[in-house]
């Protein structure tokens, strides 16, 4: 740049010229430097494995020049600036200059996670970080793969037999190589986050949303039989080298001999060691335990106070069955049955004291407990709340929060159903109408409905006093008018089409929410719209019992004709021709989308026969049944 400031004179001009020149030189040098640096970097990344005539491996650059001598028996590609190489049966790492950054003396080097390798020497495993070098000296008989939570099993000592380690001490490793739980235990068992409990044929599940306690199947797992992997259960099975953990190991049941305790992720036991004990996952500072076989002791361990609370000691299991849920907040539910009497359910506090009457049925949903006094021969107590009839009392429900407070009392509502959010509640009045209230009992949706479904994406299916169905939103605005006998709610977000039925056993119709009207013909049955299409069984569908039909029955044996349908679009136009099972809907929809909304019968056939091709095999010596052939 030639800048001349007349006011400042000639010297300024020279100075500026000089500065400009300097800037230019600097810029040129910088550009050249960047170019060289970039080229060198690219060159380093482009080293490729090269072998000489004797089969020894080294590395060559892009031009084919050997830059790392061919002296290895095996060589792998460079990654992160390092390459794994081997001599004989030993492995190590070299850098791009051929320098051994991890000596070639390890029997195994496998990628453990990004940037960290598991190394093995002399039967011991350790960890090597590309950034920090050896972060765990080879000392463990096993380091398992990391699970999705970043935890791995480690074992110390023991014997390796084949792909198992037995009689070792077991611990847990974090993903950065630090020890979470020292390998000091004879066995470990993981405790799953969801808490399950059962007493023989009475079972319930405490999940995020709800638990029912009532007679269920015998196949439910016991509350104290949390998921135990067979090979972790007893020392004789040992640890499989390919084992991985399933949980995040926030808590782990660890055994020393026959005694077990719950150990936290910091490696410290949070309960005492009990013999033959099973635990529930600690919650709200309480850890349920149960030990014994024919005579059972059940209780809780208060982690804060370190006190044991016994619900029952040495109880003969045939005489009395006793179990309890994990604590939710300050309360837990206990189930008791003596001498085969019906189960009683009641709540206890953290001191183990019973704080409620005994109920026959309890439900947990949205963070609340719903207790029910189902008509089961129970008689009403002497003092009923004012205005409540005895009959109402028997059949009504009440709601308890996690602090043990009754937030909705018996007699207030006929029925209570918390929403999953735990913020709203569908309730039924004693006159049988339904509405939605909040925790302060403010009306959110007025009590105008005779049936009200659970909200799906903020919409409710509802039935009014005229026995007609419609859809309302959370502000009681009508989305779909109350003109129908039935509605098939669509669980997609912001659906544009809903299937409705005008009469019982009538056809299903496609209601377009934007046009506010039914479009297309009625159908016998349908699946909800997914994207632009829905699978339907149209009325008067004719099924040709041709070879394609037979092929479909080979794929779906026993499928009835009225369970074969076609695809339609939102206007009700038929998009496919061959009646097919609903399971093929995704393949058909995909094909339609790929072919600009059009496919021919030949393409539909291709979908069926593609399934046939991949699913069935045929004896070479036989004649293949004609049903399996497409042509």
């Amino acid at each position: 740049m030639d800048f001349y400031n007349k006011s400042k004179g000639r010297n300024t001009r020279i100075k500026l010229l000089y500065l400009n020149n300097l800037t230019y030189k600097t810029m040129r040098k910088t550009l050249i430097f960047i170019f060289i640096f970039f080229t060198c970097s690219l060159s380093a990344q482009k080293l490729k494995v090269h072998a000489d005539e004797k089969g020894k491996c080294g590395y060559a650059n892009e031009q084919g020049e050997v830059v790392i001598k061919c002296k290895y028996d095996i060589a792998f590609e460079f990654k992160d600036g390092m390459a794994k190489v081997g001599k004989g049966d030993k492995l190590g790492f070299i850098d791009s200059e051929g320098k051994e950054i991890l000596p070639v003396k390890y029997e195994e080097i496998t990628l453990w996670r990004e940037g960290i390798y598991r190394i093995k020497t002399g039967k011991k495993y350790g960890l090597y970080s590309i950034k920090d070098g050896i972060i765990t000296k080879p000392q463990y008989s096993c380091i398992s793969d990391l699970n999705r939570f970043g935890k791995a099993i480690i074992t110390s000592g023991g014997n390796v037999k084949g792909n198992k380690v037995i009689k070792a001490k077991i611990g847990i490793l974090n993903s950065d190589g630090s020890v979470a739980i020292k390998p000091a235990y004879d066995k470990i068992s993981e405790i799953k986050k969801f808490n399950r409990f059962s007493i023989e044929d009475i079972a319930g599940v405490l999940s995020e949303n709800k638990v029912y306690i009532g007679k269920m199947s015998k196949t439910e797992e016991s509350v104290y039989e949390y998921k135990v992997k067979k090979n972790l259960e007893v020392p004789r099975y040992g640890i499989l080298l390919s084992d991985t953990l399933e949980t995040d190991v926030e808590y782990l049941c660890c055994y020393k001999g026959e005694k077990s305790a719950v150990v936290g992720s910091n490696g410290k036991a949070i309960t005492p060691f009990f013999k033959d004990c099973k635990f529930t996952i600690p919650s709200s500072g309480m850890c349920g335990f149960r030990y014994g076989t024919t005579k059972v002791t059940t209780g809780y361990y208060n982690i804060e106070t370190k006190k044991k609370i016994f619900l029952g000691k040495n109880i003969k299991i045939k005489k009395q069955i006793l179990a309890a849920t994990p604590f939710t907040g300050d309360i837990a539910l206990v189930m008791k049955s003596e001498d085969n009497s019906p189960f009683g359910l009641y709540f206890i506090n953290k001191n183990g004291e019973q704080i409620t009457e005994v109920f026959p049925v309890v439900m947990y949903k949205g963070g609340y407990w719903i207790a029910s006094r189902i008509d089961d021969g129970a008689t009403a107590p002497a003092n009923l709340p004012e205005g409540i009839k005895a009959e109402d009392y028997k059949l009504s429900r009440a709601m308890l929060d996690q602090n043990g407070n009754w937030v909705m009392n018996f007699g207030e509502y006929w029925n209570i159903l918390p929403h999953n959010s735990g913020k709203l509640f569908t309730v039924m009045t004693h006159s049988g109408t339904l509405g939605v209230i909040d925790i302060n009992k403010n009306t959110v949706i007025p009590f105008e409905y005779h049936q009200l479904g659970e909200p799906i994406n903020g919409w409710y299916w509802a039935k009014n006093d005229k026995n007609k169905c419609g859809i309302i939103d959370e502000n009681n605005n009508v989305i779909l008018p109350f003109e129908y006998h039935n509605i098939f709610m669509n669980e997609s977000k912001n659906p544009t089409n809903i299937w409705v039925r005008k009469e019982e056993n009538g056809l299903w119709n496609n209601y377009d929410l934007a046009k506010k009207q039914i479009v297309g013909e009625g159908v016998v049955s349908s699946a909800n719209f997914v994207g632009d299409y829905a699978w339907v069984v149209p009325q008067n569908q004719q099924i040709t019992k041709d070879f394609v039909y037979k092929a479909i029955l080979r794929l779906y044996p026993g499928r009835a004709d009225n369970a074969l349908g076609i695809l339609i679009d939102k206007e009700g136009n038929h998009k496919t021709v061959i009646p097919m099972p609903v399971e093929l809907f995704p393949d058909l929809a995909k094909r339609l989308k790929a072919n600009e909304d059009k496919i021919r019968p030949v393409h539909e056939k291709e979908i069926i026969y593609e399934k046939i091709r991949t699913r069935f095999k045929h004896e070479l010596s036989n004649t293949v049944i004609e049903d399996y052939w497409d042509f």
Binding site: M27, R28, I34, E77, T623
Partner: protein, 410 residues
């Protein structure tokens, strides 16, 4: 040099370093042979299921049209009798005849509805790259031009339909006498001749599952058959069996004449039995080794068949003429010793085609694309080329879109 020039030079050099300069991606449409491939799966062997699953995923090579039927997996629980012989295999031929495979291949060409006998020419038009409207018009004339068009389709398309039967057997490592644990093996002697790279394999002591996949080896006998299609058969078909609408009589005629459509045995090849490297396989998913081993061996056999049987050789278009490049590589058997004729396609007024040789080219030694399955994961030197570069041996005026076909075996 002025500063602007310097900057530009630096920029260009930088640019050249960053970009590899792949050939243009335009695809040239050209007629291909059609292939139906089958697996004979030996259920008496280990890994039978893995081999079956891998085979299902192996696509028909992209230089062929997919003419697969709905039966693809055949099973037997013993060794295939006379599998090693070059002669026509009785067991396989018997299966193909007994199940009327030839007629089914014809049925597929014409999208024949088994129930009604209705046919169409859509696939012929599509694969023959005919102008669909012009095609229909000419056919409707029922003139000499129509006949010529049908013959053209017959010769180049329908008559170039092949059945490839792959008899795959797993080779048990224990029986090969190789010691397990800690012994490096040097492999890839075939690859070394062409690329100068050997890939070594190393067995080690990780879990049994991955261990058993390392060194996974299969032996594949591939049997080639060709659909018999000549003027006589074509005439019979068009007159007595083809109908553009449902036709009970023609439908029945075809069903009763299925065994008159035949396949001709062309020949057989056996894979070299060279081991496939475990390089590039994710150790957490060693099952990919099965696919790699099977696919490499099948591709090798396809190449061998093309070397031995000229009729089976593929054509592929030049994608550029300066330099001469094509999307073909080691997977198709390209070596530095290969020679290719360059063909100019002449399309006649009646829609028929002819090919005229206009020159010969050969691959450049270090610029042969390694497009074998998982070559890139293996770290093969030329895996990222994307195409093979050729130089002229004779002829001139080569244009992109002209087809090349190998004329000399290695």
């Amino acid at each position: 040099m002025n500063k602007t020039t310097n900057i530009i030079i630096c920029g260009v050099l930088l640019f050249c370093n960053v970009f590899h300069g792949y050939a243009q991606e335009d695809e040239f449409k050209y007629r291909r042979s059609s292939m139906y491939s089958l697996l004979i799966n030996h259920e008496d062997q280990k890994f039978a299921n893995e081999i079956k699953d891998a085979f299902i995923k192996i696509p028909v090579p992209d230089k062929f049209n997919d003419h697969d039927l709905s039966v693809k997996i055949l099973t037997m629980d013993k060794k295939l009798k006379d599998a090693s012989s070059d002669k026509e295999n009785e067991t396989i031929t018997d299966f193909l005849q007994r199940n009327n495979i030839a007629s089914r291949l014809v049925g597929k060409w014409f999208n024949r509805d088994k129930s009604t006998g209705e046919c169409d020419m859509n696939l012929v038009k599509e694969r023959g790259l005919y102008d669909a409207t012009k095609y229909d018009l000419i056919l409707a004339e029922k003139s000499a031009r129509s006949s010529a068009l049908l013959m053209d389709a017959g010769e180049e398309l329908i008559g170039n339909t092949y059945v490839v039967v792959n008899d795959i057997r797993y080779i048990d490592k224990a029986k090969t006498g190789k010691a397990l644990g800690g012994i490096a093996r040097v492999l890839g002697a075939v690859a070394a001749a062409y690329t100068g790279i050997n890939f070594s394999d190393l067995t080690d002591n990780i879990a049994d599952m991955a261990e058993s996949y390392k060194g996974f080896k299969v032996k594949i006998n591939t049997f080639l058959y060709r659909l018999t299609w000549n003027e006589e058969i074509a005439n019979r078909f068009y007159i007595e069996h083809y109908s553009s609408e449902a036709d009970e009589i023609k439908c029945k005629n075809f069903e009763n004449s299925r065994n008159e459509y035949t396949l001709t045995y062309v020949g057989k090849v056996e894979s070299s039995g060279s081991s496939t490297s475990f390089l590039g396989i994710n150790e957490a998913e060693p099952i990919y080794m099965v696919r790699k081993a099977c696919q490499r061996a099948i591709d090798e056999n396809i190449v061998s068949l093309q070397n031995e049987f000229e009729e089976f050789r593929i054509k592929t278009p030049l994608v550029s003429n300066a330099p001469l490049t094509a999307y073909i590589g080691m997977k198709e058997g390209v070596t530095e010793k290969s020679l290719y004729e360059v063909l100019e396609t002449i399309e006649n007024e009646d829609g028929t085609r002819q090919y005229k040789r206009v020159g010969i080219i050969k691959p450049v030694k270090n610029l042969i694309w390694d497009n074998r399955f998982m070559a890139a994961e293996e770290g093969a030197a030329t895996a990222n080329l994307g195409y093979t570069t050729f130089i002229k041996e004779s002829g001139s005026n080569f244009l992109p879109g002209m087809l090349i076909r190998e004329i000399k075996s290695k």
